[in-house]
Amino acid sequence: MKKAATLALGILTSVGGFFDVGNLATAAQAGGVFRLQLLWPLLLGTLLVIFLVEMSGRFAAVTRQALPDAIRTHLGFATWLVPFLVLSLVHFLVLGAEIGGICFALHLVTGLPTPVWALPVAALVWLFLWRASFSAIENSTSLLGLLTLAFVVAAWQHRPPTGQILAGMLPTLPHHDPARYWFIAVSLLGAVISPYMFYFYSSGAVEDKWDDSYIGVNRGVSVIGMGFGSLISVGAIVVAAVVLAPRGIQVDDYHQAALMLTTAFPFWGFVLFAASMAIACLGAATEVALSMAYATAQTYGWNWGEDLDPREDARFCLMYTGAILGSALLILFGVDPLKLTLLTMAVNAAVLPFVAIPFLLLMNDRKLLKEHRNGWISNTVTLVVVVLSIVLAIVSIPLLIQGGS
């Protein structure tokens, strides 16, 4: 009974939790410029992320260890240090992008400039983490996150051309702007396979005290949850392709993306866009802030847990407090939220080797996982991620310089 509830809740969590500012921004860009041609990186990313999320959950269930914890324990401090520092920096940027997303949504509704909202939003995110328990955070943002299904409904209402959707699912070479095409493709992948998700998911599994019996639940959550989340991204691409592209609008600024839902839902579309953006970003912001605190606390072995009284894990709480405040400063000082998001998503893709390689090593540890270690299918997929991520890391740096500008 409890398992069924967990499964239902887990699916909700990933539906609401999967879609964040990165998915929104990259989908809007992809649809606006290349219509349905860039559906394939999304699908490829979804397939890979399903496997990786399933692995991080299985690992946590069998070993009672979250990923950062296990990486330091089993691969050693010196090996973990560089990925840890790089990923922390990336997560800092992601957090800034999510907070920027909430600020922009508030700007849409109120008309006040985006930077004005940086500190109030930071306070809101912090208060949420400070006062609520882990499950309260997870459940509330996920339920509200269902609002993002508006993109799927809008896509449906526009009756998109099925043939083109199917064609977009196969990789093709761009007809124009190759640098931009590959930049967006890489960003889409980076947005789907966000490294913070694995830390968050595995730490969450430890917080929820998963054990071997959760392996099945975990599989269901990863497949259905990530699949559903990806559906929302597909919806966003379709909407951008049908609404923005024919009008010649490409998304260089969130104001342009804000028009996406207005044709499907006259009057409500605008509010719906702002609300789903705010909620999706709020959910993701709490997850990223927690992930940063989890990773740091686990790296140094501090006491951690979102359900503990902050007096018992002062360092953990101050870690997310500092992260939220610091990244809100980016927005306060006027960094453009969309540019920050797109840059961050490409960087996300570039740092994937730091995520994928430890996965490959840990998931094959026979002493830790015994019969639950990876089979050849999971290993092949992880190897694909490793190779792909190394290629992406090499490719995305020049693309960052050219396509990003």
């Binding site: 089993h74 691969l75 050693g76 490959l360 090593l361 094959n364 540890d365 026979r366 002493k367 830790l368 290993n379």
Partner: protein, 98 residues
């Protein structure tokens, strides 16, 4: 009391009595003995790393690699200078004794 920091020993290159390179110390095997925990042998070389990671190249990549780490019994390892660990014998003697 003569002590050595294990975390600093890890990864050090070991030479044998004739000055030839044997490999890096990548794992140390120990056993509890009464109240104590004592070192039995030092594991050298990349294969020792795979032992430490609990995986085999065969499983991971499908390569038929069966390399065994170089095992040095505790009494054959000279740690009097922890920066330059040395064997008390040659590599050949080490493998012959097994």
């Amino acid at each position: 009391m003569k002590t050595v920091h294990f975390e600093l020993l890890l990864g050090r290159k070991v030479h044998d009595s004739e000055g030839r390179r044997v490999g890096r110390i990548l794992e140390v095997h120990a056993e509890p003995e009464g109240k104590d925990c004592v070192v039995r042998e030092y594991l050298l070389g990349t294969a020792a790393l795979l032992t430490r990671l609990g995986i085999s190249a065969e499983r991971l990549l499908g390569l038929p690699v069966h390399r065994e780490p170089v095992r040095v019994p505790w009494d054959q390892m000279d740690l009097s200078d922890p920066e330059r660990p040395r064997l008390r014998c040659s590599v050949e003697e080490l493998t012959r004794n097994k």
